[in-house]
Symmetry: none
Subunit: 269 residues, 2 copies
DNA sequence: CTGCTTTGTGCAGGTATCTGCATGTTACGA
DNA sequence: TCGTAACATGCAGATACCTGCACAAAGCAG
């Protein structure tokens, strides 16, 4: 499988392929790379040193390993759990006050709604429906009577599904429309003109469907989401009943929310 | 399941895998690690000392334990991940050999199939469908082209859904029947008379549906599942094409599997 | 076109690391 | 208390590494 010796390769091109090869197989020896690319072990060593300094791989004795090797699946989601963590905690704590025992609630994906789910342990007999794949692992079984996941294609980075909102209860049952008493929607951005937006079209469709099927809608957004607009519009400001955040919104946004008859709840940090 | 002697391994790569292995199984002996990785006990000791100084595991007399031991409020699932962990690892490793790049695979819930998913990093362009809510968090995004979760009611203890097997791709789309090249089914028990059984009716229905929709079916069962019968029958022995386990089944079961034209694959421990 | 510089490559030497074995010491269990 | 197993240390062979140097090819100035 070694490359044709007649075919002359540029050093830079070889290095790029070399890096890709390492990432592909995870770990590889210098000798293997040397025979594979038809160069001496010394050249491979120098290439690896350079690629290591560029962070494209990790140099080790005997060869190199992929930078992803060994690192736990510390997903992008895990990282996002830690940004604005205090704000999300406060928002979640305030939001659970809207939930009564026995209620039916919908939660979309995202770290803010995950924080909300963690604040539910005092509740009982809830019926919960969500597209957030992390919630079943985080929530206590004592809290709910039933927990439903909306199936469909998975977005890995957010650990959510993007499928339609419907449920079938048996192998041959037909679709059943579902409704909730209250829907909690963590959005990507909020602005007076743009309304509620997020960066992914599938997520936006899921959120909009949840909002349509909820008697009351609470938007969750920390202060970093203010006065920004992202790719996909979920709904205009009027679609929500509550707007839960951690700091008082800027004047223009607050005025627009007030005009849209949205009740703004500010969580004290 | 000693590693292939032909495959040269890097010290750093071995150490990374070693640390992952310790975390996986919770506790392990030096001798076990030595035979598992095909190096001397001295080398294992040195690796463990180094990993201990890096805080990746805790060195003990005779072996090492996971640093996470005792720190987590172990869910029932987390506990089950550690029982027969080595056996499940071996089974998973053997099972992935049946999967080709680009294949469509179905995985049911359970810790054995989760172990299988962890052994997939070398594969590419897979299409994966599962009711196991843990898989999206555990699997590398590089492995698959598409990943689907079957929606429905959640069983908290197993972190699975029990919904029907179908997919809808748009808000108003109709159900789409899905099929897989191969289905991997981790069962609760196997016996010559009872066939494949499990303890939960919903799970059994899900498994049976997956088996019907898979061109080939592989049953995964460690030795603790032999010659037992549980509440709900999934299928008779004939329904499977492969039976993957960690020890040779007892004579009566082996005979029954042979008579049912099931190929038995035993993973070396 | 010629000559120079720069870059890449391979080779040779000495040095460092990895690994397994041997030896003596320590810790655990009966 | 004793015996076994695990540990620590030292050593030697093998492998991989680093440094310096020589040579070839490409690029550039004149």
């Amino acid at each position: 499988m070694s490359l044709s010796d007649a075919e002359k390769r540029l050093p830079a091109g070889r290095k790029a392929e070399l890096a890709a090869y390492v990432v592909e197989v995870g770990q590889v020896t210098v000798a293997k790379l040397a025979s594979h690319f038809g160069v001496s072990t010394d050249t491979v060593r120098r290439d690896l040193d350079q690629l290591d300094s560029e962070g494209l791989l990790i140099r080790t004795h005997g060869g190199a390993i992929s930078p992803a090797a060994g690192t736990k699946p510390d997903t992008e989601l895990e990282v996002r759990l830690h940004v604005q963590a205090a704000a999300k905690e406060a928002i979640g704590k305030l939001a659970v006050g809207l939930v009564e025992d026995g209620a039916v609630i919908m939660l979309n994906g995202g770290t803010t709604t995950l924080a909300l789910a963690r604040h539910l342990p005092r509740h009982r007999n809830l019926t919960i429906a969500t597209n957030n794949l992390r919630i079943p692992a985080e929530i206590s079984p004592n809290v709910f009577r039933d927990l439903y996941i909306f199936g469909g294609p998975v977005r890995t980075v957010s650990q959510t599904t993007t499928g339609p909102i419907s449920m079938r209860v048996g192998p041959d049952a037909q679709d059943i429309e579902v409704r909730a008493d209250i829907g909690f929607i963590g959005v990507g951005a909020v602005s007076a003109q743009g309304g509620y937006t997020t960066s992914n079209l599938g997520d936006a469709a899921m959120m909009a469907a949840m909002m349509q099927r909820s008697t009351r809608v609470a938007i969750l957004a920390d202060s970093s989401k203010f006065d920004r607009s992202l790719f996909a519009r979920i709904a205009t400001l009027e679609a929500a009943d509550y707007f839960i955040t951690n700091t008082t919104p800027p004047a223009d946004l607050a005025a627009a929310l007030g005009a849209a008859d949205v009740q703004v709840l500010v969580a004290e940090s």
